[in-house]
């Protein structure tokens, strides 16, 4: 009883000891803040990494292929039994994306993924990261009328945007045609009035007005045919002309590409065997779009900080715009192929690495483009098989099972790894960072421990006579010792408790604090343009807090052991005589 009473009284009367545990408080608070923020980052990162990567994947090199993917999936399902939830086949290839920005070509490298729209969303967190809310619920590669992020695009996305763009394009073309015909008419009139000029201007032209009329006749409403060549290289060059593709021109390109519509030509001996072209079969950019492609948001989005400090989003390309992708076929002699696509949505996982490079096409489309479909069987090959496991399945065990099923000596081209294997360098770097930070911060608390030791030693010296009195009154050495151990423990508990409260409050209001610091110092603490988080993520882990508290209190108690031992060893007579 006297131990508690005296510990309490010393706590109440020795403020210097309280000062010595401020460092414990600060250490504990810092540990909690650092751990929470780091855990928040790691958690977000892991979620995203895991969401994008499937649990386990079997992949091969990008210019190679896994044939008979259905057979593979069957074997995998047999091997894994009820551990597997879903598997999906993916084709991965590097490609070039080019599109028109203010009349110039913008070309950049992308990682093109051909995905199966049935199963891909079940294996990875793909759909939640789409910006279109309709697509998030029912995924397709079609351009949507509605559902695009109003805040991001301000309505300039989707079918309406596409129609407006094409309408404007057509009007510009109509205007320029009108201008051309006006110019031609004026010129015709000029040459008709003064035929002598014609002679000097051109020796080859005859003087007949009819011929002159033909010479300067207004251009037809549609541009002359480009004969179908069937050579993708030439086609590519044609569609890559520096001028933006006009709607009609691209319509005709498409018509010649897909082979179902053919112009009746007098030079085509088989013309009569081909189906007649109906107007509704023609590609109309107002109603139709090209192969749907989903781009990583960071490919298009540019976050710009205005002088006022506000962030403004700018877009190089929007849903509804067309873009070209250029990639190579696989096989013995890779050839470049170009495909015209329509951006149907953006993918925004907030992992910059992925958002700035990923683009998604329908699997069959990409297989076709890359020549991955076996002409004999009509079966496509893939480059990756991604597997999602049921909750609670052991990733590493599953990987080992799959490696046993596809032994590396028979399948040297297969790479079987879990998502953690893929991101191991990053995850272990973060883990090590956190460990080192924790060690350093605990050293701060240990330093505080030495402060407590020194203060307590002084208090024991100061209290020597009181210790003598207690011993004279029959208090055992152990009791005297426990006064000071209890004192140390209560100080440590108070310091840790206050530290936990401060730390948790700091974590709770961390974004407000960051803003306040930014206002005070004029220095942005947390720049969303760098981290792609709109605010600092935090995760408070009760286990961490528990261990931090235990550690801090243990340090305080350990620091009071030495003074307490000294107190216990005091000789009562000498202690009583001490002045």
């Amino acid at each position: 009883m006297y131990k508690l009473l005296l510990s309490w009284r010393y706590l109440k009367t020795r403020f210097i000891a309280l000062a010595s545990i401020v460092s414990v408080t600060l250490g504990v608070a810092t540990l909690i803040v650092v751990n929470s923020v780091m855990a928040g980052f790691v958690d977000q990162m892991k979620n995203r990494l895991h969401g994008i990567l499937s649990d386990v994947e079997i992949s091969t090199q990008m210019f190679s292929e896994i044939p008979h993917p259905e057979r593979h999936v069957e074997i995998i399902k047999q091997t894994l039994g009820d551990q597997i939830q879903e598997a999906t086949c993916v084709v991965r290839t590097p490609a070039l994306l080019s599109f028109d920005v203010r009349g110039r070509q913008w070309t950049q490298q992308i990682m093109l993924l051909g995905i199966d729209d049935e199963t891909f969303g079940k294996v990875t967190d793909f759909e939640p990261y789409l910006t279109n809310e309709i697509k998030r619920n029912s995924f397709s590669f079609d351009l949507e009328e509605d559902g695009y992020d109003q805040e991001k695009f301000k309505g300039d996305a989707g079918w309406k945007y596409r129609r407006t763009r094409i309408e404007i394009q057509r009007r510009i073309e109509a205007n320029s045609r009108e201008y051309d015909s006006l110019y031609d008419n004026a010129a015709n009139a000029f040459y008709a009035a003064e035929p002598s000029h014609v002679e000097t201007a051109s020796h080859e032209n005859t003087n007949t007005q009819e011929e002159q009329g033909t010479r300067f006749a207004p251009l037809p409403a549609t541009l002359p045919d480009i004969p179908p060549t069937g050579n993708p290289v030439e086609e590519g060059i044609a569609s890559q002309s520096p001028q933006p593709l006009t709607a009609d021109q691209s319509a005709e390109n498409q018509a010649s590409n897909d082979g179902s519509i053919h112009r009746i030509s007098p030079f085509d001996p088989h013309a009569k065997f081909r189906p007649e072209i109906k107007s509704e079969d023609l590609f109309d950019p107002m109603k139709d779009h090209r192969t749907g492609i989903i781009l990583g948001l960071a490919i298009s989005e540019r976050k710009v900080e205005l002088p006022s400090g506000e962030l403004q989003d700018a877009y190089l390309i929007r849903p509804g715009d067309d873009a070209n992708i250029m990639l190579t076929t696989i096989g013995e002699s890779p050839k470049p192929v170009i495909e015209n696509c329509t951006v149907v949505d953006f993918y925004s996982s907030n992992m910059h690495e992925y958002d700035s490079s990923f683009a998604f096409l329908p699997l069959s489309e990409l297989q076709q483009l890359r020549g991955m479909i076996d002409p004999m069987t009509g079966q496509g090959s893939v480059s990756t098989i991604q597997i999602k496991l049921k909750e609670g399945a052991d990733l590493d065990a599953v990987r080992d099972q799959l490696i046993a099923q596809f032994p590396p000596n028979y399948f040297p081209d297969y790479d079987i790894r879990t998502w953690q294997d893929t991101q191991r360098p990053l995850l272990s770097a973060v883990k090590m960072e956190l460990t080192i930070l924790n060690i350093l911060l605990f050293l701060i608390i240990a330093v505080a421990g030495f402060g407590i030791l020194a203060t307590f030693y002084m208090i024991v010296v100061e209290k020597t006579k009181d210790i003598g009195i207690l011993k004279a009154l029959g208090a055992p050495s152990r009791g005297v010792m426990s006064i000071f151990l209890g004192y140390g423990m209560s100080l440590g508990t108070v310091g840790t408790g206050v530290g936990i409260v401060i730390g948790l409050l700091f974590v709770k209001y961390i974004n407000e604090i960051a803003d306040a610091v930014a206002v005070l110092t004029g220095q942005e603490v947390f720049d969303p343009t760098i981290y792609y988080f709109s605010e600092i993520p935090t995760v408070v882990n009760p286990v961490t807090i528990f261990w931090v508290a235990v550690g801090a209190i243990a340090i305080a108690v350990l620091a009071s052991v030495l003074p307490a031992l000294r107190a216990a060893r005091l000789h009562p007579v000498e202690a009583l005589r001490y002045e």
Partner: protein, 274 residues
């Protein structure tokens, strides 16, 4: 006495020493706080403590300063014994040895026919807490605690947490009673720094009596007080001695104070002067 195992240090047959008190077991000696009721009158010439051949020197190695050089004495039950002597005559050291605060170099100390100078620390602590009431020249109150808490400290030391809480009410009652007896009932919540020297010493006296000790060891209780306060403290002590039927051993260098005692032991140069 033949049924007592001689190996038990707590049971010592002292018949050969001439004592006529039966050997008592230390822990059962004070099993009841109403021992004065059960044994109200003790024969005055029975010794409660006896000391034989006590030697004690201070210092280390070659520089040994002998303080006690063979002290023999008996302290009578219910008596008021004064030990007087000059400064440095070893009287305080003798009192510390009697109170088991220090161990003698040689010699034996008996309390109720039990040798106490070589007991285990735990048993000595028990003795100091229950059997001996200690009063010091410099009061030795704990500055952080109030008067009442200071008086209660021996009880707090004695009981565990829950037992103390259980008995708290009776302890408080007794402490307030004792403080009333020493005339400090109006000072219960004062800290020692707010008390005068005489008041502090009277608090110390109350503290020494809280465990109902059988012997009061006072080391110059008035040594630090002016004559008026000193007289007051002595009055209190004398009144209490009679009221509680206490055995008192008082060390002093004041012949006048010593004259109030039943018996005076002169200590000169570490031996008892005859």
């Amino acid at each position: 006495m033949s049924d007592v195992a001689p190996s038990n240090p707590l049971r010592i047959d002292r018949e050969s020493k001439g004592g006529n008190m039966p050997a008592t077991e230390l822990h059962s000696a004070k099993s009841s706080s109403s021992k004065y009721n059960s044994a109200p009158l003790r024969i005055a010439d029975t010794s409660v403590m006896s000391v034989s051949g006590l030697f004690k020197s201070y210092g280390k190695g070659a520089v040994q300063v002998p303080v006690l050089k063979g002290v023999d004495l008996e302290i009578e039950e219910g008596g008021f014994t004064a030990i007087i002597g000059q400064s440095g005559s070893g009287k305080s050291t003798l009192l510390h040895l009697l109170g088991t605060l220090d161990a003698p170099d040689s010699g034996e100390i008996y309390f109720r026919d039990q040798r106490i100078d070589n007991l285990a620390p735990r048993q000595q602590e028990h003795l100091r807490n229950r059997e001996f009431g200690l009063i010091f020249q410099f009061y030795h109150l704990l500055p952080e605690l109030t008067t009442l808490e200071n008086v209660l400290i021996p009880r707090m030391v004695q009981d565990g947490f829950f037992r103390y809480l259980k008995n708290k009410r009776s302890y408080r009652k007794r402490a307030i009673e004792l403080l009333e007896m020493v005339g400090l009932s109006h000072r219960l919540t004062h800290k020692p720094s707010q008390l005068s020297g005489g008041e502090m010493q009277r608090t110390a006296i109350a503290r020494s009596l809280i465990s109902d000790p059988s012997i009061l060891l006072a080391d110059e209780p008035t040594g630090n007080l002016d004559s008026e306060n000193g007289a007051e403290v002595m009055e209190t002590l004398t009144a209490l001695r009679k009221h509680e039927n206490l055995t008192v051993v008082m060390v002093t260098h004041d012949d006048q104070l010593a004259s109030q005692a039943d018996r005076i032991i002169h200590l000169v140069n570490g031996v008892v002067a005859t």
